[in-house]
Symmetry: C2
Subunit: 230 residues, 2 copies
């Protein structure tokens, strides 16, 4: 019974994928964390992730992790950095390919492994295992870059949403406040939103129009190249 059956001429590191899964609850940007059940860092919160299987790419691994934790078959994911400092894991050398994922919170029912998973507001995250605090910081900074090119609302908001919700999303990602009217003007001017006839009562005060992303027009716009300045 040989337990170490995979042998190489030169040392090979272990490779994992970790996912920073972002969601938005209408007020705050959230991320999904897992409470570790085993050593090292047992009991600490950590990013969902796991070892890369022999025949899957890192992206496939990240999507697999995403499904295990959220039950979602698909979401926007994007690789943003690979972490390779030799001693980042006390057990053996582990290289981590990190992904960020954007999910619609309403669609998350919880996956098989979701028992120990919990959503945290990004500004109320506990101390994390390994170097996951660094990974999270990098993910946030990539998300803040991405928001200028990519209509992240498309991935984070419900299909139909109010301008107010969209603005709150941008404000909570970027940590700033915008003028209501200027924000609406800028977004509508991009011409990637469709105003619906439907309205809802987001507050007990007054009804508000619902909007949808127009994927067609977004694709055209992306083709031409654009950037949203804030």
């Amino acid at each position: 019974m040989e337990s170490k059956q995979y042998c190489y001429k030169y040392p090979h590191p272990a490779v994992t994928t970790d996912c920073v899964i972002f969601g938005f609850d209408g007020m705050n940007l959230k991320i999904l964390l897992i409470q570790r059940g085993i050593e090292p860092y047992k009991g600490k919160w950590a990013l969902p992730g796991g070892f890369l299987k022999p025949d899957e790419s890192a992206e496939e691994g990240a999507l697999r992790e995403l499904k295990e934790e959220t039950g979602l078959e698909y979401a926007y994911i994007e690789q943003f950095h690979t972490y390779s400092i030799p001693n980042r894991d006390p057990r053996e050398r582990v290289i981590t390919i990190a992904y960020l994922a954007l999910v619609k919170l309403q669609k998350v029912k919880g996956g098989d492994d979701a028992v120990n998973a919990q959503w945290f507001s990004v500004n109320e995250v506990p101390q994390l295992a390994f170097d996951h605090d660094v990974i999270l910081r990098d993910a946030l900074s990539r998300l803040r870059e991405r928001i200028h090119f990519h209509p992240i609302g498309y991935d984070l908001l419900p299909d139909k949403f109010t301008l107010k919700e969209l603005q709150t999303l941008y404000e909570s990602v970027l940590g700033v406040h915008f003028d209501r009217r200027n924000f609406a003007k800028k977004m509508l001017h991009l011409d990637i939103l469709t105003q619906l006839d439907e309205t809802i009562w987001p507050t007990p005060k007054r009804e508000a129009f619902l909007f949808q992303f127009n994927l067609e027009k977004y694709r055209e716009l992306k083709q031409r190249g654009f950037r949203l300045e804030f």
Copy 2:
């Protein structure tokens, strides 16, 4: 005599770092390629790269590669993507952490391994080994993004340069043409260039002022956050 001495319970991929090394000769954006001396892809051109050593991070590995090929101790490097499709290398599973590097061509003397190295204009690159054509394309696209935030001229041009040189650099990276006057206005308006009293004769026609990057002011600007639109 056991040749496969490093054993693990689970399969581990090999990990390499590859470098896309950019330079600028005053006319064209160039990259450094290596002609492979061994199979697979023997004789084909490839990006410089190599296996990660057990006790170095990917960044250290990339800097080591850079030194071996160019003799340079330091240059701007930036990780941009990790490639992990299972069969990208026919020998065994290899995961590649890719870096881009910006070097001043005049300072490159050639390193120990530089015998089979050669500079190519980015639009005259031969067919490359492995998936290196994809990696190069991704590096170029990252460079084109980076040019908006990062004064890449600081890393690619000589210490002193003319506005014309700077403009040619931007034009060859972005593949567009700018109006001379507007380009100068925009660059000078950023206030990160120092105009020197010195002049040179870049052409036999007329002398031109030399400029230098002002690192102090660039740091201030970056602090405040900025973006160069083109």
